[in-house]
């Protein structure tokens, strides 16, 4: 996993419009910056935007050219007939894993800030242990090592392993998000007679969602890419389809080129969405300050 989570107070970075002055941080106003493998294009940054344009439209153009204009267009036609059928499994595993990871992450995040020592300890150990073991090893562990015990099929093992793994990362996002909310919010809720649980669900978490949406979007992209690991567990995802086609026809170059381009188009597309979402959330937060 190459994810790198950076959480901190908003720093005065140059505003995208080039005015050079960022708004002063309102009290308790945090941003969570997650730098991931993919570049998150900001709409204001022309050079990154054009890099994104070149990559995204270049990838699409490459597929079109290979399919219709290359000397091996018939091979590419066959690859494109076979490989995309893996998209269903790729998205299925990704979406199911992200859903479970969100639940686990919320629990882990709440556990990490819990005042009850044992709960706190369990959550912290979970996060530390899982983040310290490579996802591929976790996949092997659940599918092969625990296979005789769990009797899980490939897809189920894959979803379980990815959920547990990403749940730990999500847990840290939830924790940081919850802690980024000004503690005056909890105090005001308690002073009004609310219980901690009421305050959490009614006051803290609704505000947290806005802060954590962009980093969760990034985790989604990272998970989409990591889902290629499940091809090892007999899950017929995009990469597995490519391998199967390649090993029967020996067209390795053509198969994996298409597989790589499809992943690239997907991740670039989603990072663009996350970038737009991030900008929208930020602008909304500033409008009335």
């Amino acid at each position: 996993m190459s994810d790198f989570l950076k959480i901190g107070k908003r720093k005065p970075t140059p505003a995208p419009d080039g005015s050079g002055s960022a708004p002063p941080p309102a009290h308790g106003d945090f941003t969570i910056n997650v730098t991931d493998g993919t570049l998150i294009p900001s709409t204001g940054d022309k050079s990154i935007l054009s890099a994104w344009n070149i990559s995204f439209f270049g990838a699409i153009a490459a597929i079109v050219l290979l399919r219709f204009a290359s000397p091996e267009k018939n091979v590419y036609r066959d690859v494109l007939n076979v490989v995309p059928s893996g998209l269903a499994a790729t998205f299925g595993v990704t979406l199911a894993s992200i859903a479970f990871a969100l639940v686990l992450g919320l629990l882990a995040g709440l556990g990490r800030i819990a005042r009850t020592k044992p709960i706190n300890l369990i959550a912290t150990v979970y996060v530390e242990v899982i983040r310290g073991i490579p996802l591929l090893v976790q996949l092997f562990y659940i599918y092969y090592a625990l296979g005789p015990l769990l009797h899980l099929k490939g897809p189920a093992s894959a979803i379980m392993a990815m959920s547990i793994c990403y749940g730990a990362y999500m847990g840290e996002i939830f924790r940081a998000g919850i802690q980024s909310i000004n503690k005056g919010q909890m105090e005001a809720a308690l002073a009004l007679g609310m219980s901690r649980t009421q305050a959490l669900w009614r006051i803290i978490l609704p505000q947290t969602v806005k802060v954590i949406l962009p980093p969760i979007g990034n985790e989604f992209i990272a998970l989409l890419k990591d889902s290629s690991l499940v091809s090892i567990l007999a899950v017929a995802d995009l990469l597995r389809r490519g391998r199967e086609y390649a090993s029967t026809t020996f067209n390795y170059l053509q198969s994996f080129t298409i597989v790589a381009l499809i992943y690239l188009i997907m991740t670039l597309f989603f990072s663009r969405l996350v970038g737009i979402m991030e900008t929208r959330l930020r602008n909304h937060g500033q409008r009335h300050n």
Binding site: H27, N182, G184, Q185, E187, A188, A189, L190, A191, L192, G193, M194, S195, Q198, R202, I203, P206, Q207, R287, H288, N289
Partner: protein
């Protein structure tokens, strides 16, 4: 004092090496308006925050009516329903409209029905002069308006006591009056109020007593005119020279 609604006995509290409260005794009678003044770090906000247990005392006792706030067995949520609090930084809930800020706690804590809670929220907004702001979000309101919504939010729980923690300190000068006017009305209606503030005008107009704190102790307490004109203690005199 038989009619005391807040009784603080030998309150002590440290934050690490800093002694915020070093043995404070204070009784506040029902309907009394008490202003707590003192230099920053004198422990006045800490004392206020201990009354509804946002901070825990290290030793000593605080009673609100017949309930011991500092007891581990205290039903603190029940006590907090009786004790409203207004913060320096307003602490309105930014994701809720002004009306919803006010009605949320009556809805989920007092379990008022929706129509009743909403009607009361509108009444309270009218009372603080913001009837037209019911659907505004906090970020769309000025500081003074936000603080008035915060007062209405606390009043929605129908508290017997109101705590004010420097309610005007974060406000631009032109907005202070609108907040003090609301507090003045409240005082006239007989609300018991404990106010940490240096608003001398408010003290003269509404306070029954002014308490001067320094270094975690109450140095002296007297009616406002007396304390401001003839402070008994040298420390009080020096502090008043600074702020008057």
């Amino acid at each position: 004092m038989g009619n005391a609604i807040i009784r603080i006995k030998d309150a002590r509290k440290s934050f690490g090496a800093v002694q915020a409260l070093r043995g404070v005794d204070l009784e506040i009678a029902k309907g009394e308006v008490v202003l707590v003044i003192g230099p920053s770090g004198s422990g006045k906000s800490t004392l206020l925050r201990c009354v509804n247990r946002l901070e825990h005392l290290d030793s000593g006792e605080i009673w609100v009516e017949e309930d011991c706030v500092t007891s581990p067995h205290a039903n603190i949520r029940k006590i907090r329903e009786e004790v409203g609090m207004v913060f320096q930084s307003f602490n309105l809930f930014p994701h809720l409209t002004a009306a919803h800020n006010i009605s949320l706690s009556p809805l989920i804590v007092l379990r008022q029905d929706k129509a009743e809670a909403e009607r009361r929220a509108r009444d309270l907004l009218t009372r603080v002069g913001l009837a037209d702001k019911a659907l505004s979000y906090p970020e769309q309101l000025s500081g003074g308006q936000q603080q008035r919504v915060a007062i209405a939010r606390a009043l929605a729980m129908q508290p017997k006591i109101m705590l004010f923690d420097e309610p005007t300190s974060a406000l631009d000068p032109e907005m202070i009056k609108e907040v003090l006017d609301v507090m003045l009305d409240l005082a006239k209606e007989g609300m018991t109020m404990m106010v940490v503030s240096h608003e001398m005008g408010f003290a003269r107009a509404a306070a029954d007593r002014v308490v001067f704190m320094d270094e975690g102790l109450i140095i002296e307490a007297a009616p406002p005119d007396e304390l401001f004109s003839h402070p008994k203690e040298e420390r009080t005199r020096r502090f008043l020279d600074h702020i008057l």
